[in-house]
């Protein structure tokens, strides 16, 4: 999407803002304002409020299917237990894990919070640290470049750091964070303090990490609208990609190509902070395997992320049962969780018609935010996904990878995503984050305490837009934030 003409930007930044209530948000579509108040189309949950605002099912779901949603929710909230127990479909936790239940990190389906700087003993309870090393052999390099392997795990600590474990097995260690601050001055005199985290792993229980280990802190992302995102066709994403920046607008979004286990080939990634997962099913099952330590159809290893070095971990009893596909979370479980996670409804936006919000949305578009935070999609008919079929949705994301600059870089490539690239996260629901959990913070490592801080961290392809924000008169900036908080 092109940025508006220079003249328009000049007008906006000098304080004259178009406030016509009927102005279309996208040229040519006059009914958009009302539609954008329902970010999930017919799946949107109306009148949602309070801390459970992200726990509703797609509003267009039939009564009969609601029971399946409830069953999936029960499994999503299940506290998995250490094998062996007689509850055969509930055991197999770990031996190493980040959370005992999906909802342990995805608290009320909202976004996570970073480690408490002042209470590190509490652990990383809504985020985790991903680990990897550069390819060490010619084979690894080839598989990595081919896309078969997204990352090479640390030889001892695996693909992520697990600071919890079953009794008798040592957890991998503890997670600590320290911050360095920097101040940003905004037009009008406001000064915003940004903080940059440094995550450390301490009390390592299995020896040293690899000298070249790359670490990426990853907050639990919000769980709304995932089925709707999944229903956006590949070619729509590809059409928006512009890796060579042929249109010269400074934006060069590109897709990530990742291994799709079920189909046995490369596919476009769209889930996860670096778009590392091609389907919601694989995302869920990956989380079961690595975050909870459960074997699933796509990840049948009963010992989760344990490596050769962690011998007791490998030989601890697992919960694989021949009666249940020789897995801990077999396909009936993963199918129900898939249906549940597809159908967590985006809430309606009660303030979409406020004057400030509308004005803020104009600023959002004119500054260029919508170049990556694509507002709207028309989903195709999908007979296999009834609740998502044919909906008009407003996720505010192109789901593409963008270079976000050195400040936000984790320097850890993932599949085709570089160490400076991040997938545009959807903005729907962002205004609800603290309502759900007051500790919730923004960006991949939770460094931003407010939405404004998150905006100010935008660099790389987004640097020009970010600079526009700092130059906005305070009243205009307030309107922009009012718009973002209304989502």
């Amino acid at each position: 999407m092109k940025r508006p003409a220079f003249a328009l930007r000049y007008i906006l930044s000098s304080g004259l803002v178009l406030t016509s209530l009927m102005a279309p948000l996208i040229p040519g579509r006059a009914d958009d304002l009302s539609a954008s108040a329902l970010p999930g189309g017919d799946a949107t949950w109306p009148n949602a409020d309070g801390r459970n605002v992200f726990t509703h099912y797609s509003a267009n779901m039939t009564f009969e299917k609601r029971l399946d949603f409830k069953l999936g929710e029960a499994l999503f909230q299940r506290l998995w237990v250490t094998a062996p127990t007689r509850t055969k479909t509930a055991d197999g936790l770990g031996p190493l894990f980040n959370s005992r239940a999906c909802s342990g990190c995805h608290i009320r389906n909202g976004r996570g919070h970073p480690v408490d700087e002042n209470a590190p003993g509490d652990g990383a309870t809504s985020m985790l640290l991903r680990l990897s090393i550069p390819p060490q052999t010619a084979d690894q390099l080839r598989d990595h470049l081919d896309g078969k392997i997204a990352t090479i795990p640390d030889p001892v600590y695996g693909g992520q750091f697990q600071d919890f474990s079953i009794p008798g097995i040592k957890a991998e260690g503890r997670v600590k964070v320290t911050y360095q601050t920097q101040d940003v001055s905004l037009a009008g005199g406001e000064v915003v303090t940004l903080q940059k985290p440094d995550y450390q792993m301490t009390e390592l229980a299995y020896g040293p990490l690899h000298p070249d280990v790359m670490v990426s802190p990853r907050l639990a992302p919000p769980m709304i609208g995932l089925g709707l995102l999944e229903a956006i066709p590949d070619d729509v994403l590809l059409a928006a990609a512009d890796p060579q920046d042929r249109d010269g607008d400074g934006i060069s979004g590109r897709v990530n190509h990742v291994w799709d286990i079920a189909s046995g080939k490369l596919a476009i990634g769209r889930f996860g902070w670096k778009a590392g997962m091609p389907t919601l099913d694989q995302q869920n099952q990956n989380a079961f395997q690595f975050d909870i330590g459960l074997s699933t159809p796509l990840y049948p290893n009963g010992s989760g992320d344990c490596t050769e070095t962690q011998k007791n971990c490998l030989t601890a009893p697992d919960g694989n049962d021949p009666e249940f596909e020789n897995l801990e979370a077999h396909s009936q479980v993963t199918d129900l969780v898939l249906y549940y996670t597809r159908n967590i409804a985006p809430p309606a936006r009660p303030n979409a018609h406020d004057a400030d919000v509308i004005a803020g949305q104009q600023i959002f578009t004119s500054i260029g935010c919508a170049s990556c935070h694509t507002p709207r999609y028309q989903l195709p008919q999908r007979p296999d996904m009834a609740e998502q079929s044919g909906q008009v949705i407003w996720p505010y994301s192109d789901l593409l990878l963008h270079d976000m600059g050195e400040g936000l870089a984790d320097h850890r490539p993932e599949a085709q995503a570089s160490g400076r690239e991040w997938r545009t996260p959807p903005l729907w629901g962002i205004g609800r984050a603290k309502q759900i959990d007051p500790r919730a913070q923004f960006l991949h490592d939770g460094r931003a305490r407010t939405i404004l801080e998150a905006v100010l961290w935008h660099g790389g392809e987004a640097e020009a837009a970010r600079n526009s924000v700092t130059l906005l008169p305070p009243s205009e900036r307030r309107k922009l934030l009012a718009f973002l908080k209304s989502l």
Binding site: K70, L71, A74, T85, R86, D163, P167, I169, K170, G173
Partner: protein, 422 residues
């Protein structure tokens, strides 16, 4: 017999737009609701104290008799408690608390020895096999060293704080159940857990080691259960927080709580998570009360509890009846046909629950009913699920009939406890 107080009926009646002489006011209905809650939790407390006494007797004089008496006391304690489950949804104070007393599944291996034979060679060096509190005065869990030299209520409570989310998988009714019955190793065959009383015997007669510590765990769990039930009973007494919350305002929040509780327990929790899921997975132990094979009773009393709050009538363990103006009265004044329909459906689900109880009395328990291949047994359970789903549809219509909106039936909020998360 308690008589509900009339609190400004006329004013409230006109607010709700109901007929002045044909229906009770919202506050009257809610007072009955709170009275039944109080009576139900008090009955749970009374029976839990009897369980506590039976546990003390077992530890003082381990024998087949005292062991059997403790198990009977546990079974008896479940009947009033399950009838209170309808209060869990719609009353945040109950939902936030209930994980302490009724969480499931259980981290069996954390508490006591488990059957490891099925899982390959036992490795003496692998501490995972023997890392349970009963056998180990010191435990390392997730990098933290727990001093379990003394097993008491404080230790059990501290086990909750080890893991990130509330790990109330080591206390409550089911922990006590596990310590009394042990694992049910029969799968979909007949029979419950078969722990021997000698697991509590003194001296050389002790089986499976650490009988004194096992007794201490059992006692601590029993003591905690009593103190937890004391707390919730007080919340529903006059001036208690739960009662005050329900009686707040114009009665709409309270009525919302009743309907939310009925619908959520019927649909997502009992119909869905506790019954349909087990049937779907054919997992023999995907059942509450899996050690004692008491699930049929748990489900029956759950269904009865839903009916109790609608009809505004509860029969206490001593036989006395608590009743008063009810939601049924309120609905009947607005839509007599709906009230009749719902009464019928509630009776149907209670009967379907009773059918499972009858089967169990005949020797076929819940885990057998849900077994793969047992079509007839599966059908009995499916009938229960269908009845619960069916009544949910009628419960939803109450919302429109009585004029409260914004209700939605939620699944379990048990992991939302803000005090448990760091």
């Amino acid at each position: 017999m308690k008589i509900a107080k009339i609190l400004g009926t006329a004013a409230l009646v006109s607010t709700l737009g109901v007929q002045a002489y044909a229906a009770p006011g919202a506050k009257d209905v809610l007072t009955t609701y709170a009275d039944i809650a109080h009576a139900g939790y008090e009955d749970s407390l009374i029976t839990a104290k009897e369980l506590q006494a039976a546990i003390d007797a077992l530890i003082a004089q381990p024998s087949a008799e005292t062991f059997g008496a403790a198990k009977s006391a546990w079974l008896a304690a479940r009947a009033p408690y399950q009838q209170t489950e309808v209060y869990r949804f719609g009353n945040a104070i109950v939902d936030d608390w209930e994980g302490k007393v009724n969480a499931w599944p259980l981290d069996e291996g954390l508490i006591d020895y488990v059957e490891t034979g099925l899982y390959g060679e036992e490795s003496e060096e692998n501490p995972a096999y023997t890392a349970n509190v009963v056998a180990n005065p010191t435990l390392v869990i997730s990098g933290e060293t727990i001093d379990a030299s003394t097993i008491d209520a404080a230790l059990l409570e501290s086990l909750h704080e080890i893991d990130d989310v509330e790990s109330n998988v080591a206390t409550g009714y089911h922990a006590i159940e596990f310590l009394l019955w042990g694992q049910d190793l029969n799968g979909t065959g007949a029979g419950a857990g078969a722990r021997e009383w000698t697991d509590y015997a003194a001296g050389d007669a002790c089986t499976n080691g650490n009988c004194d510590r096992r007794g201490a765990y059992l006692k601590a769990a029993g003591d905690l259960l009593v103190s937890d039930l004391e707390w919730i009973t007080a919340q529903w007494a006059e001036g208690g927080e739960a009662r005050e919350t329900v009686l707040e305002g114009d009665g709409v929040p309270g009525l919302t709580a009743i309907v939310t509780g009925m619908g959520s327990l019927s649909y997502g929790e009992l119909g869905g998570e506790r019954t349909k899921l087990g049937l779907l997975l054919h997992d023999p132990e995907e059942e509450h009360d899996c050690f004692s094979d008491n699930t049929h009773n748990s489900h029956y009393y759950d269904a009865l509890g839903i009916q109790n709050v609608y009809l505004g009538r509860y029969t206490r363990v001593d036989g006395s009846v608590v009743e008063g103006p009810s939601l049924s009265d309120l609905v009947a004044a607005k839509d007599a046909a709906l009230d009749t329909e719902l009464r019928g459906k509630l009776a149907t689900s209670v009967l379907a629950g009773k059918a499972m109880v009858t089967r169990a009395q005949g020797g076929e328990h819940f885990d057998q009913l849900i077994a793969m291949g047992n079509d007839e047994g599966n059908a009995v359970v499916q009938t229960f699920v269908d009845a619960l789903v069916d009544q949910t549809k009628s419960i939803e219509q109450i919302i429109a009939a009585v004029g409260i909106d914004g209700i939605e039936f939620e699944g379990s909020d048990s992991l939302d406890n803000p005090s448990a998360v760091n």
